[in-house]
């Protein structure tokens, strides 16, 4: 009997048992697609975030409230007992001298309204030097000025998606926008930048830090960013900032260079990727157990089928080739569908969250699922093929 005949037999057997075939394939599909998708999200987020920090330039120093080293990988927000204020930023600015730029930053959620259009956004606020630390590519208009920071003027700059949503047909410059119930004037809007350190920049609005404090009814700020005039100096600037803040904050603050921040964030994001991979691994296992279940449930029926085939003259080779081909076809078809689904899913999700397909995840998921499918398809058949036909026919 030749290999084409084996293929035809396998196809007929698959066709005669559609439900079993589809369920087996489903196990492979779920496992493969889940792993590809989840690992793609993990990798994508990690790359995007680290990339955006790198993009900020290597001469930045970040001061965070709270002791991040002690609170471990939990990161900012772990044990914050005292927040920074503008006075802290001013103090640093005065003590460092005119060459270094200091930007107090606030981030908070806000609701924007124009007419009956409404959207949730993030407010990112700084001083007149914000443009030095946050790359801003103005499509039209301008950034806020020193006078506007001092006067806490109600001026706002829109991220590209905010502009598209609130002013789909109009030029927004000079228009008024309602932020948390207060009227603001739009003075500029920036080009799309994709995701970033501080979340999705396209979905943000920018305003003076003093304005943001009034809007939020607080004197706190989120972090302080310092730009060293010379990248060579970042470490000495970091040491200086630590000395400046120590008398006021004791141990309850943290100062990192961009490289250190990058390291901490990649650790954090690495943990995220591992967690996602873990979840993916569980889906893989669940898919595998599904395949196993279907195969084991059908072992007695398949063993009887082998008994019938052997009784009418099938040789061991005939039986094995049929079952190997069946299992390989199901697993490969399921694997390919899973890969396509994972791929399409990542592409679809990439509008919401950055994704990047990793070849090792594809290979691992495919090999594992296909391996489980082939093993549980072939092994029981191998055992049954060694029985006397009558034993196979009597199998329960």
């Amino acid at each position: 009997m030749n290999i084409f005949e084996s293929f035809r037999i396998a196809l007929r057997a698959l066709n005669a048992n559609k439900v079993r075939s589809i369920l087996t394939m489903l196990g492979v599909i779920i496992g493969v697609a889940a792993v590809i998708l989840l690992v793609a999200i993990g990798t994508g987020v990690q790359k995007e975030v680290t990339g955006s920090i790198e993009g900020l330039g290597s001469n930045l120093v970040f001061a965070f409230p709270g002791n991040i080293e002690e609170s471990g990988a939990g990161g900012p927000g772990g044990t914050i007992t005292k927040q920074f204020t503008i006075e802290d930023a001013d103090l640093i600015d005065r003590r460092l001298g005119p060459d270094e730029i200091v930007v107090p930053v606030i981030q908070a959620a806000a609701t924007l309204k124009v007419g009956n259009r409404e959207m949730r956004t993030t407010v990112a606020a700084g001083n007149e030097y914000s443009g030095e630390v946050f790359a801003a590519d103005y499509v039209d208009g301008r950034g806020y000025r020193r006078s506007e920071v001092q006067a806490a003027s109600r001026v706002v700059i829109l991220g590209s998606r905010v502009r598209d949503q609130l002013f789909p047909l109009r030029d927004p410059i000079g228009e008024t926008v309602d932020v948390n119930g207060q009227r603001f004037t739009v003075i500029g809007h920036v080009a799309s930048q994709g995701g970033s350190l501080t979340g999705d920049q396209d979905n943000q609005v920018f305003m003076p830090v003093t304005t943001a404090q009034r809007l939020l009814g607080t004197t706190d700020i989120s972090i302080i960013i310092i730009k060293a005039a010379d990248p060579e100096n970042v470490n000495s600037v970091q040491a200086q900032v630590e000395r400046i803040l120590k008398p006021r904050f004791g141990e309850e603050f943290s100062v990192f260079t961009q490289a250190q921040t990058l390291g901490i964030l990649s650790d954090l994001l690495g943990t995220l990727t591992v967690m996602l991979a873990g979840i993916a691994g569980i889906s893989l296992l669940v898919g595998g157990i599904g395949i196993m279940n279907i195969m084991l449930v059908s072992v007695s029926e398949r063993t009887r089928e082998i008994g019938i085939r052997k009784a009418v003259g099938a040789k061991t080779y005939d039986i094995l080739s049929q079952f190997v081909i069946e299992a390989v076809m199901l697993s490969v078809a399921g694997g390919v569908i899973g890969i396509v689904l994972g791929w399409v899913g990542s592409a679809a999700l990439s509008t919401v969250v950055p994704t990047e397909i990793t070849p090792w995840a594809v290979a691992l998921a495919f090999l594992f699922s296909a391996g489980v499918g082939i093993f549980f398809g072939v092994y029981p058949a191998y055992r049954a093929s060694r029985l006397d036909p009558i034993e196979a026919l009597r199998y329960e």
Partner: protein, 261 residues
């Protein structure tokens, strides 16, 4: 213990022995209790013979059929097919003998589920390496021969018990074997369908094919020329059928009887 042995042996003088069991026993061990299904059976079946095996339930009829059909191994003794001892054959050689020389009709049909009658009958031909078109033609012919020419595409679940039995018979004879072994081929059938099956078997036998069948029914047994009685794993009696029933005649009689009613 074995009666009429001389006359039975005499029958084989002018014909070849196609199937022979020598001192065959089969013993199953279940939870350390030994069950002797067969205890030393000697049986010679001559070419072109039609033989019935009778005996009470559990006497070892199916076990014997499976062993001489090369579907099972005896615990002791040997089986010879057309002069060849099969004891030392490899599983694949046994498969080839089953495929080419023996057609087996199971007590429980054993058709492939969710697979058409046509495909079921083609099954042995696939394993004898026949091409697709030839296979389809032969399977169709075999099914027509058992009166199922109009049921080729039906699945086993769409056929009556008697029709499934006939599909199983078509599968057994499609390879044109020299021996057909049928385990209770009429067990699940009413008397008319049973007679139809017996007619098929008698026709095969008339063409020179050796037929062995197992039955509980003395009337069915009488369609053969020779009857072997098994009890408790041993052959206890053999007889030559004096007035052999001819299924074709009995069917004709049945039809006229029905017509008169």
């Amino acid at each position: 213990m074995v009666e009429n042995n001389d006359s039975v042996a005499a029958m084989c003088l002018d014909a070849r022995v196609v199937l022979e069991a020598r001192d065959v026993s089969k013993c199953y061990t279940l939870d350390e209790i030994e069950v002797h299904a067969l205890r030393g059976v000697d049986l010679q079946i001559c070419e072109g013979q039609m033989l019935s095996i009778m005996g009470p339930s559990g006497s070892g009829k199916s076990t014997l059929m499976h062993i001489i059909g090369l579907l099972d191994h005896p615990s002791n003794g040997s089986v010879t097919v057309e002069g060849e001892d099969v004891s030392d054959m490899e599983p694949n050689e046994l498969a080839a003998v089953r495929n080419q020389r023996i057609g087996f009709v199971f007590q429980a049909f054993n058709l492939l589920a969710r697979t058409s009658a046509q495909a079921n009958v083609e099954l042995p031909l696939i394993y004898s390496g026949l091409g697709g078109a030839e296979r389809a033609r032969k399977a169709r012919e075999a099914l027509e021969r058992v009166g199922l020419g109009d049921r080729l595409g039906h699945l086993p679940s769409q056929l009556s018990g008697g029709q499934q039995q006939r599909v199983a018979i078509a599968r057994a004879l499609v390879t044109e074997p020299s021996i057909v072994l049928a385990d209770e081929p009429t067990g699940n059938l009413d008397s008319r369908s049973g007679m139809e099956v017996m007619q098929i078997l008698q026709d095969l036998n008339d063409q020179g094919i050796t037929v062995v069948l197992v039955t509980h029914d003395p009337l069915v047994a009488k369609h053969a020329r020779r009857v072997v009685h098994l009890a408790d794993g041993r052959i206890v009696e053999e007889e030559i059928v004096k007035e052999r029933y001819i299924a074709r005649d009995r069917l004709a009689a049945l039809s006229t009887e029905e017509a008169h009613r």
